[in-house]
Each structure stands twice: as C-alpha cells, then as structure tokens.
C-alpha cells in the first residue's frame, strides 16, 4: 500500500527502502511524466536515483533539486518525497507548473546521501556525513557539502576526519558528490540548482567559500526574497535571505558555489524550518507544513528561472 501515492503517508519519516519503493509507484502512476534514473551508486553500493520530470525533448533546460545531503536532516528528505508527489500531481492541473514542464525538465534527487541516511536510521540518528573510510583514521565519513571543487579546503571546512565538516582528501572524492557532478556536467543545460537542507530557516545563494559578492548577487537576492515572501504567506514562517558567507558563516567546498561557478546562475540552498524546539528532530507532524511552504518558494524560483532564460 505504501507504493500507492494515495495511501502513502507523506506526514511520516520513512526508510530508504520505503522511499525507493514509493518512487517506483510514482513512476508507475505517471509514466508519461516521471522516470527514475540511476546516477550511480554510493560508497556502500546503494543505488542513487534521481526522479526526472519531463514531457519530452533531449537535454532541455533543467532545474535540479536535491534533498538531504546531510543525512540527519530528515525533514529535507521527507520534503523531497512530498515535493516529488506535488510536481507529479500538479502537472496538468496547475497552469504554471504545466507550462514550465512544457519547456523545462526537473530533476529531483531525494536521497543525496543514501549511506548516511541508512546509518542515521539504523546506527546513529545524529549522523551527518557520508560513510567512506578515511585512511589512517578511525573516523568515517566526509561532509559532502564541503567536498565540491569550489574553494575546496578553504575556511569553514575541517582537515580532521573526525570532524562533522571534514572536507575529504580531494575535491569530489566522495562518490555521492561525483555522481552528481558527472550528471550535471554531462547534461550541460541546468539553469538552476537548488539544494535542500535543514534547519534554521534560511534561503542562501553563493558564495560560501568567500565573502565576496557573486556577480549576480543582487538578482539572486531579489529572487530569494520573492520566494521567501511566498513561503511565509502560508504559515508565517520567517526566513532570512543572503549569501552563505554573510548570513551563516564562511564555508568552503559547498555544492551551490560549484554549480554557480560552473555557470548555473540560479543556485540556491534552503535551510528548512525549525520550530525553535526540536532542531534535527522535527516531529513528523511538521513535515507537510514544512514541505507545503517550501513548495511555494521552490515554485516561485522555478517560475523565475523559466521566465528569465540565459
């Protein structure tokens, strides 16, 4: 019954197996819109699947969304599941999304760090990193959001394999990161790259590895503020908007800095809601409100990207 979108409980946290199985159900229910593509395997050999929402064409301009690269941020993956279902069910009924999908594709990587996600379910709920072995250290894992080739190894990343922000031995050393890098480069036509994290209610744009303004900072700021206005309209959740460096801290090797430097102008990262009481242990009854408000912001960004081709 979990395979059916109609009976699946979107207001609950699920295991990797359940989510992967549910993806098959989504594809089966929307065969002309959704495909599940394997982009590689994780360090521990788990498949990594991206859901592709497309109405046809080859390498159309596309929007990338990933969720849960930090495994313990469970509301991110849960939001990814809800969002996938929303895109599929809104196509054909929501005029704006339908028009977007007539000309663009959406790629959604719900589980960006499958090994870490499984580890957070089975062994350590607070696990954040990948699960790769670090030679010469008893500590495992690399922070996959410090592992991208963007100011790699600079401020805001740790050289210590035991740290939760360890950047890894080299850029893209983590297979989970490399799989995404390969897909993005081979595709070559992504216009937007959005990464979903939790928590602390922020919408960020490049850069993180430097506090210098990105070339398009003013435009990205404006797009971000518009998106957050939409988000806040649903439940009144307050967000801050700004560059990673200026509204959190300098952090090198982040995904959206790499994509921005690659030429993907509309690169953003979300930090989803926290009720101020639970941090990473956001109760499951907060999943749907979180995903619903995030969708309004996502849609606003996507519409802007559709209307501002470059």
């Amino acid at each position: 019954s979990e395979r059916s979108s109609k009976s699946f409980n979107f207001g609950a946290y699920h295991s990797l197996e359940t989510i992967y199985s549910w993806m098959d159900g989504l594809v089966a229910a929307h065969p002309n819109l959704v495909t599940k593509e394997q982009i590689g395997t994780s360090y521990e050999g788990r498949p990594m699947y991206v859901l592709k929402f497309s109405t046809g064409g080859d390498k159309r301009p596309a929007i990338w969304v990933d969720s849960g690269i930090h495994s313990r941020e469970w509301v991110s993956q849960a939001t990814g599941v809800w969002t996938a279902n929303q895109i599929a069910s809104d196509y054909g009924t929501d005029a704006s999304l339908t028009s977007l999908l007539k000309t663009m594709d959406i790629y959604l990587l719900i589980l960006a760090n499958p090994d870490g996600y499984v580890h957070s379910h089975t062994s350590d709920r607070m696990w954040r990193k990948t699960r790769s072995k670090n030679p010469g250290s008893m500590c495992r894992g690399v922070d996959p959001n410090r592992n991208w080739d963007a100011g790699f190894g600079g401020p805001g990343a740790s050289t210590n394999p035991c740290s939760d922000s360890y950047h890894g031995p080299s850029p893209h050393s983590e297979i989970e990161v490399k799989n995404v890098v390969n897909l993005v480069k081979n595709h070559g036509n992504f216009k937007s790259f959005i990464s979903i994290h939790a928590y602390s209610q922020l919408l960020m744009y490049p850069y993180g590895y430097t506090c210098t303004d990105a070339l398009h900072a003013a435009e990205l700021d404006s797009v971000g503020r518009s998106a957050v206005q939409k988000l806040s309209s649903l439940h009144g959740t307050t967000y801050k908007v700004g560059s990673i460096c200026k509204i959190i801290y300098q952090a090198s090797g982040g995904s959206i800095d790499w994509t921005y430097n690659l030429g993907i102008k509309y690169s953003f990262a979300f930090e989803l809601r926290d009720t101020g009481r639970y941090g990473f242990i956001l109760p499951a009854n907060q999943i749907i409100p979180t995903a619903s408000e995030t969708w309004l912001a996502l849609k606003d960004i996507m519409e802007y990207v559709r209307d501002h081709s470059y």
């Binding site: 946290y13 350590d124 709920r125 602390s200 009481r277 109760p283 499951a284």
Partner: protein, 93 residues
C-alpha cells in the same frame, strides 16, 4: 545503535562578540564531545549545542562562569528519538 540518554540540546542566544569567541573556544575543545547543531556566528543567530550527558555539568558550568545565558531546548534527546522511532514503527505497521 548509538543512544543519547540524558543528552541535552541547549540553546544560547548570543549577546556579544566576546560570547561568540568563548563559544568558539568551546567548539574547538574536543574533550567534551560537543555537537554544534548551530555554530557561533553572530548575535542574530542562536547557537544550539548537543551536549552528551557526561559533559553536561562541565559545559553548563563553563557557560555560567562566563555569564552566558542559555536555555534547554531538548532535555533528554533519547526520549524524543524513542517517540520518533515508535511513530515510524506504528506507521510502518
């Protein structure tokens, strides 16, 4: 499976640059095995720290000694995780 019995998450609403520096010093100290959920950045952003039960007394003492105000956001992390797990199992059934 790792358990977090008695671990607390404490929230510090930072009031000054001096407090940020003191919290950063705490962050550098690996002895207490602290897990910073939100890092000390500026006075506008709170700092959330998961403190293992074994370090609770010492960490709270450190904060009080430096006149850093804090509140307990999660009083026993394992209780919340148990609730989360029970809810997931129920949902699976």
């Amino acid at each position: 499976e790792k358990v977090f019995i008695g671990d607390q998450v404490i929230r510090v609403n930072v009031e000054s640059e001096e407090q940020i520096l003191l919290l950063r010093a705490l962050e550098q100290d690996t002895y207490w095995d602290l897990d910073f959920w939100l890092h000390p950045v500026n006075t506008e952003v709170p700092v959330d720290i998961r403190v293992p039960s074994s370090s609770l007394y010492a960490v709270k003492d450190y904060l009080r000694a430096h006149n850093i105000q804090f509140s307990v956001m999660i009083s026993n992390l394992q209780e919340l995780l148990d609730e989360e797990k029970a809810e997931m199992e129920e949902n699976n059934m």
